[in-house]
Symmetry: C2
Subunit: 216 residues, 2 copies
Amino acid sequence: MIKWIFFDIDDTLFDSKELAYHSRMNAVKAMISAGLPEKDPEKIYQELLKIIKEKGSNYGKHYDDLLEIYGMRSSQLVASAVVAYHNTKMAYLKPFPDVVPTLLELEKKYKLGVITNGRAVKQWDKLIRLGLQHFFEEVIISEEVGVLKPDEKIFRVALGKAGCEPKEAIMVGDKESDIAPARELGIGTICVGDFDSDFTVKNFSEVLEGIEKIGS
Amino acid sequence: MIKWIFFDIDDTLFDSKELAYHSRMNAVKAMISAGLPEKDPEKIYQELLKIIKEKGSNYGKHYDDLLEIYGMRSSQLVASAVVAYHNTKMAYLKPFPDVVPTLLELEKKYKLGVITNGRAVKQWDKLIRLGLQHFFEEVIISEEVGVLKPDEKIFRVALGKAGCEPKEAIMVGDKESDIAPARELGIGTICVGDFDSDFTVKNFSEVLEGIEKIGS
């Protein structure tokens, strides 16, 4: 019998890819409008992506490094980028439209949890801004466990906290790192996206159907 | 003849004191609601103020230190506080109601500038979020000059950038550190608040009258 449903956050509960693209692109456009000499947003965006890839997404000086490429130092341009990024992020940090009604259905029958990679305060920040934090009884974050998905340990920690067997749990995620290790442990798997799993869905609301199929 | 009007930002262009109080108080209340064992917001607020006073307002771990007082570590509570703080800050980061119409009048006759204490990106961030950045032709920030108001140097740097004489400039601020050094240099002074100056106003719109009196 299925007792627990665990969810990934990014690109499962909200559109993290769209958020990242538009936030960064609007940061770039704000810098252009505040006086960056290069005026092609696509070109600057590619330079920004290179910096993010090299320095990681938690590095605090992306925009300073970007300005350096164009021989500039400017607190005004950095602040313009930061404000545009944050305003756009806040507009996109909303659950997929069918997430709240689906979770409302699910929490009548199952206990709900989160298994996510990232910094603890940052992942909690997302859950709270998404308005979803009260749905989840257990939130397992890689920073606190010490390993990232696809390490099986993070799933074992989740099962331990929930006090349930693998066959009593289902993992809902969008990536191989959500699905493969869960399946390896005997946890049911639902993929919101294109990746192979016990049940693959296009819309979040189909998760309801997936759970019933896997549980039967 | 008056050519340049310089403004302080915090508590001159917007209500920084109200912003700080409500943002911090709402952070405290969010922590209580997310499970902090102490339930008296006033008591927790006072502890938070002590930490801010001791560590400075740019220290990144205020809420972690606060939790430690109550024997806790919790990313959820830290994130709850951060989100409540930021949401409240965004609601309060608005110019005083008469700032925009007054600046619109002033920029027809004078050049406008800012002389402010703080970190450069943070002060630009405020100007941009306030929607006031396009009014000012020169923005002089202590971090970039290397000294804080009331050091006269920051005023001399401002006059140099503006290319004007002290008697051609007026400083508008709310604190002794805005007024005293400006007056010492021969710059006209207008105080938005209770401090003694060439012209003291209660509402920002009275700045117009003050400039005419000082200039005549």
